[in-house]
Symmetry: C2
DNA sequence: AGGCAGTACCGTGCAATGCAAGGTACTGTG
DNA sequence: CACAGTACCTTGCATTGCACGGTACTGCCT
């Protein structure tokens, strides 16, 4: 898989998954890994950045399977950002398809 | 448009367009610009790199509308690379769609 | 004649981001 | 008590798009 394709898209996937329900980092790594090859070193910096930018709020919750989990909850600002990013992606994918199918 | 989405994809569009028929740089900028906002500073380095990697061959052709055009012709190696890149893209886009529509 | 818009090429340096690699620490099981 | 699994985190590198700047040729308008 061309790793460059991932640029910007993994952030969008994180946004989308957190918008569906609260998530913790390790969980996101596992969820995205089912579809795309990624590592923890990718996710944690994204979570930190999106939190700093006001798209996420965090809270800790103890777990009986290891250390406490840091959950990410989407803010209203985050929700609107997620929506516009997803729309941009859809538009972008359509544009690329048109270019790939252009036969002259 | 999130500029990060472009990473790797513009290269693929260049490959696809040259695979349909020989193209020169400025022409590619115009063709891709109809769908995605890009600049010449993006295309020329890509063309240089793909040529160095053996995916393109070049030849000059005079024009009556300005300076001579440098045409890019796809090699066999380039054709196989284009095919696998396009397949990867299709697969990738499907994976992203699945992640975006994952509602729990 | 001179200037300008359009065509066409090229290079440099910055910003963004994914990832490899490494580290810490908690829990339950063999 | 070691180890696998869970869970967090940081640093530095590589890639790549793009802003910006530069060169040069053609034809048109004044």
């Amino acid at each position: 898989m061309n790793p460059q394709f991932h640029k910007g898209v993994i952030e969008m996937c994180v946004l989308s998954l957190v918008s569906a329900r609260d998530r913790y980092g390790y969980e996101l790594v596992e969820a995205i890994s089912t579809e795309l090859p990624i590592s923890e070193g990718t996710i944690y910096p994204i979570l930190r950045r999106l939190t700093q930018e006001g798209y996420f709020e965090t809270y800790l919750q103890e777990s009986n399977e290891g250390p406490p989990r840091k959950y990410y909850r989407m803010t209203r600002k985050g929700r609107s950002f997620t929506d516009s990013t997803a729309k941009e992606w859809t538009q972008f994918a359509k544009s690329v398809d048109r270019l790939l199918n252009q036969k002259n």
